[in-house]
């Protein structure tokens, strides 16, 4: 089924039990090919043009269509609005996948290494879920943790993110130069109006993790009024390094080797180290 509007799509979803929505199919077909999924029917979202763009609301919020492709989010006009999301979209797989893979699909799949997820967590984005006759708004983090999951018959239609007009960064470690899933990622956004730093770590746990204490601490280290050479807010490099450690410590629990779990302990130490470097670099790029 290829509904041409949102209303048609939710109607079709309600009318066809067991039907599954499909956008770029980059996750869905993988599951079908591996025999993990056998949908009774597919409802293609590709023709719902309104979901493929974005609009503004109240001056300070962007409302992103679930059908935005990674390739579209990587374009300069979008990157100027929400740089960290553009960074994430740029690294979300090879070009063929980014040309069709969508924001909505990335959120609905909710894979631990989903690249847009830590960015949405750091931005404290909310999602609109629609079913025939009703919609509801839930924080993306609630969707991901399963606190308030996507229900059968529901369509993810919009993702609301605040426009912060300040530097933001997404960094991803993969262990190779070619496209790959993250072994760890860090999203970091500055919110100068609230004098806040928000950060989320991806791929190290089933859902993105927020190191709230580290965020508060580092926000206090920043002299929000001072300006460096090129007009950026500045931070002491030692504080940036400490921030990295702080974030890593908060998000990757230490595994103490007890003789039986050496591999696990080493693995955890490696991930901590990677997260620490990513968080330090992310802060360094956001603040000059």
């Amino acid at each position: 089924m290829l509904p041409a509007s949102l209303d048609e799509a939710v109607e079709a979803l309600a009318a066809t039990p067991g039907a599954v929505p499909v956008a770029g199919a980059t996750d869905l077909m993988e599951a079908v090919n591996a025999g993990r999924l056998r949908p009774a029917a597919l409802i293609g979202l590709g023709r719902i043009t309104e979901l493929r763009g974005w609009r503004y609301e109240d001056g300070g919020t962007a409302v992103l269509g679930a059908g935005l492709t990674h390739a579209r989010m990587d374009r300069p006009d979008f990157a100027a609005l929400i740089p960290a999301l553009a960074d994430a979209a740029r690294t979300a797989g090879p070009p063929q996948v980014r040309n069709v893979g969508t924001l909505g699909g990335n959120v609905a799949t909710a894979a631990p290494a989903g690249d847009t997820l830590p960015v949405l967590a750091a931005l404290e984005a909310t999602a609109t879920l629609a079913r025939a006759g009703s919609t509801r708004e839930v924080p993306v983090s609630h969707l991901l943790t399963g606190l308030d999951p996507l229900r059968p018959g529901e369509l993810l239609t919009w993702v609301r993110v605040p426009l912060l007009n300040a530097p933001q960064v997404f960094l991803k470690a993969t262990g190779r130069s070619g496209p790959a899933r993250a072994t760890a990622s860090v999203a970091l956004v500055l919110d100068p109006a609230r004098r806040a730093v928000r950060c989320a770590v991806g791929a190290v746990a089933p859902v993105p993790l927020r190191p709230l204490e580290a965020e508060t601490w580092v926000a206090g280290c920043i002299d929000w009024d001072a300006r460096g050479e090129d007009g950026a807010t500045v931070i002491d490099p030692a504080a940036a390094a400490a921030f990295g450690e702080y974030v890593a410590g908060a998000c990757v629990p230490e595994v103490l080797p007890d003789g039986t779990n050496e591999g696990l302990a080493q693995g955890a130490a490696r991930v901590r180290r990677t997260v620490s470097v990513l968080a330090r670099r992310a802060l360094g790029r956001a603040l000059k």
């Binding site: 025999g35 960074d87 740029r90 690294t91 090879p94 960094l171 991803k172 470690a173 993969t174 262990g175 190779r176 130069s177 070619g178 496209p179 790959a180 899933r181 072994t183 080493q266 490696r270 180290r273 990677t274 470097v277 990513l278 670099r281």
Partner: protein, 784 residues
């Protein structure tokens, strides 16, 4: 699906479009012709157009679909197999288990075993499961989903056994097979065991499991024949060997089995494991209908052989100047569950354990053992690659200890033509090791980012990655290595080819499979050269043709190329004889060039086409290189026909905080004997470097307790274009190997053998870390 004529016309249209544009570009450039030219590959255009047919595209009227049930354990005893649920499924036509196989020798329950050297591997397991994914039963059904469902509904009761997964434990573990756990122990002893050097360097080196990961998974079609035989259409790279082994397992005479070779979707040596093709054939024989089977990616990883993981312990003794005094080594190859070609790989590892260097005293013990890991087999430079990483790492260490540059330590020890190998065999073919090193070192280095700040620098971690220029260190590493070509240790090497000329075109019939290595293109060039004919067709391969042997060990250029040349020369004689007689001169005084037959005195000048008019000439010839002998109990003997050498310089950038490595540039100098098709050689070198870089940084088919951890193309990381460096050819050294056909050496394996060592050396230089393990994971390259 489009019909064959559509395909043909599409190809023709594209061909003429291409030819047209070539004409437009430069009307003067003639078509590449003959040996030494960069003739375009025969298969390039259809492959680029996506119309090159592979086995997975085959279809036959009324075909059934096959599926295989595989063991979920690496080591288990089969207690019982119940196929009744599968047989009861509508649409299922046959279910086979080991009980349906013709009985093996001495009534072995799993039927006749098979193997390229030692027959020790069952087609379908009956008694013991020895590796994860070993086939247990197979099904034919009228739909692929039904077949898979039926296979899954076969109930197998296993008694799970403790797997032996550490090759070092294989020696003391109870035998996993009646043949025992030791495939081969090869000691090599030469010189004075008491010799000691002023400088001693030691190292322990580990190489992971590289998989050929062919882009097309195993696929095939079996068609039963009215005479009780079977015809198999699949991408075999050894049609006669596979035919004979298949027939033996089916209990049929070889002539009842016909193998038709389809397009090969990627092969670096062997393709299509025997269990796959025998099961396919049995299903067809059992049902009396064509059966098609395509494996999933996971099955593909489970079924074909991979590269031998290796553990190598080395001690090099040298004098104060760094000249080698003695090399001691212990080499352990994990052969996995079955013998396959482990003994061959071990011979290469042992014989080349010192590398292309001269050393008077060498003491090596090498073992290939059986474990419950996936079976290992042939893969570009098997055995030679693993030791190259080890001896080159040792030389890097030695350079540091002596206080000279890595290049200098290699120059001081480099082998030259005529020098003996530790096996006692003198290297009588050209061994231009020093010249290769000179060529790579003379080649300009790639620019540094700081010298070209405007450049579009790709940092380790890739575009949009987390790379930070402040944490990036550049490293330059050198490596040189060697690998033999053709079968070794007394293996009979032979190939047969037929050349036919009819009117203005020639046809080559030779069962040498073009696995992507370019043999068909070469055959065309040879015939063009000898006969002056432009149009040369190379016939598709099947097992009704004469034996040409497997597409492995870089043998076809020499053996099959030699056969094609001889056949073409015989045709040439037939063609020229009457003309010469007519003019009262001997054939030797006539030559063919530029499509014309000319006499020495220039009196006669006849177009080849005219001489050939209305004629059809045939000849069949064989090529059999000089024999070799097995290595004896001290590892001594003339075991190899010829050896190829290659030197490389790798330049890497390492993010020393994240441990990500990007190979910026690999510069190659290779000993090719004679460049028969420079463009094709460059392709082969690029392919070898890509594969070597993959092994050095990314590729590792991991196991946990014998179970495959990452049997998918998401989990098994193949290099992409972004992971693959700029490959530059510093030199193709053309010193003829006088005994080789055309004086040419095999080109594919050498770069794959050397690239991992070169990358490791460069990472070592960038990080100052020892780098003793391949692939080099980020945690092995963190130095910040």
């Amino acid at each position: 699906m489009s019909s064959p004529t559509d395909i043909a016309s599409a190809a023709a249209a594209a061909q003429s479009a291409l030819a047209q544009s070539a004409v437009d570009d430069d009307a003067q450039t003639p078509e590449p012709f003959g040996l030494g030219s960069s003739a375009p590959r025969n298969d390039a255009l259809p492959k680029a157009l996506g119309i090159y047919p592979y086995a997975a595209d085959l279809w036959a009227e009324g075909l059934l679909w096959g599926a295989v049930l595989r063991a979920p354990h690496p080591h288990a005893r089969i207690v019982s197999v119940d196929t009744s649920a599968a047989l009861a499924l509508p649409g299922v036509h046959a279910v086979i288990t080991a009980a349906d196989l013709p009985p093996g020798p001495e009534g072995a329950p799993d039927g006749a075993p098979h193997g390229p050297i030692v027959a020790d591997r069952p087609i379908l397991a009956a008694g013991l499961i020895r590796h994860h994914g070993e086939p247990v039963a197979a099904v034919a059904a009228d739909h692929p989903d039904t077949a898979r469902l039926a296979a899954a509904s076969i109930v197998v009761e296993y008694e799970v056994l403790e797997p032996v997964t550490d090759p070092e434990q294989a020696f003391s573990a109870p035998p996993l097979h009646p043949d025992g756990n030791l495939f081969r122990h090869l000691p090599l002893r030469t010189g004075d065991p008491e010799a000691v050097g002023e400088i001693i360097v030691e190292g322990l080196y580990q190489v992971g499991r590289q998989d050929p990961a062919p882009i097309g998974a195993e696929a095939g079609l079996a068609v039963p024949r009215p005479d009780g035989g079977v015809e198999l259409h699949l991408s075999s790279t050894d049609p006669h060997g596979d035919r004979d082994r298949t027939a033996a397992c089916l209990g049929l005479e070889p002539d009842r089995v016909r193998l038709v070779v389809t397009g090969i979707p990627g092969a670096t040596a062997d393709r299509e494991d025997l269990s796959f093709q025998v099961t396919l054939a049995m299903l067809a024989l059992r049902t009396g209908r064509p059966v098609k089977m395509t494996l999933t990616r996971e099955e593909s990883f489970q079924t074909h052989t991979s590269r031998h993981p290796a553990l190598l312990r080395y001690r090099h003794h040298a004098d104060a100047e760094g000249r080698l005094v003695k090399v001691e080594a212990q080499i352990l190859l994990d052969g996995g569950a079955y013998a396959d070609v482990s003994s061959e790989a071990l011979a290469a590892a042992t014989a080349f354990s010192v590398g292309p260097y001269v050393c008077p005293n060498v003491f090596v013990d090498a073992w290939a053992v059986r474990t419950n890991n996936p079976p290992a087999g042939r893969m570009r430079g098997e055995g030679a690659l693993q030791t190259c990483f080890a001896y080159e790492s040792q030389l890097d260490q030695l350079a540091v200890r002596v206080g000279v540059e890595p290049l200098e330590i290699r120059r001081r020890n480099a082998m030259a033509t005529g020098d003996p190998m530790p096996t006692g065999q003198a290297v009588t073919c050209p061994a231009p090791v020093a010249a290769l090193l000179d060529a790579v070192s003379a080649s300009p280095l790639p620019a540094l980012p700081m010298d070209d700040p405007e450049g579009d620098w790709l940092l380790p971690g890739g575009p949009g990655g987390a790379g930070d220029p402040a944490a990036v260190r550049r490293g330059i590493g050198y490596a040189v290595g060697m690998v033999h070509m053709l079968g070794a240790e007394g293996e009979d090497e032979v190939s047969t080819a037929t050349v036919r000329v009819s009117g203005d075109h020639a046809t080559v019939i030779c069962a040498a499979v073009d696995s992507g290595q370019g043999f068909a293109t070469l055959a065309r060039q040879i015939v063009q050269d000898v006969l002056g004919v432009t149009e040369v067709y190379v016939a598709p391969v099947d097992s009704d043709q004469s034996i040409a042997g497997p597409s492995a060990r870089g043998r076809h250029t020499w053996v099959s190329g030699g056969a094609v040349e001889r056949a073409a020369l015989m045709v040439r004689h037939q063609l020229l004889q009457p003309i010469a007689a007519n003019f009262g001169m001997s054939v030797e005084l006539l030559s063919i060039a530029d499509g014309k037959i000319t006499s020495y005195d220039g009196v006669l000048g006849m177009p080849v086409g005219e001489a050939l008019e209305g004629k059809e000439l045939w000849a069949t010839a064989q090529c059999r290189p000089h024999p070799t002998e097995p290595l004896d109990e001290a590892g001594q003997g003339d075991a190899f026909v010829s050896i190829a050498f290659c030197a490389m310089r790798a330049v890497v950038d390492v993010d020393i905080e994240l441990g990500t490595v990007r190979v910026v540039d690999v510069t190659v100098a290779q000993d090719v004997g004679r460049a028969l098709n420079p463009r094709q050689i460059e392709d082969r070198i690029e392919a070898g470097v890509a594969q070597g870089v993959g092994l050095a940084l990314l590729e590792d088919l991991r196991t946990e307790g014998g179970r495959l951890v990452n049997p998918s193309l998401t989990g098994y990381r193949l290099p992409t274009a972004l992971d693959t460096p700029e490959v530059r050819i510093a030199a193709l050294l053309e010193e003829r190997d006088v005994v080789a056909t055309f004086g040419a050496k095999a080109v594919s394996a050498a770069p794959a053998v050397v690239a991992p060592a070169a990358v490791a050396a460069a990472v070592r230089a960038a990080t100052g870390l020892p780098v003793g393990r391949l692939p080099i994971l980020p945690e092995d390259a963190i130095a910040g």
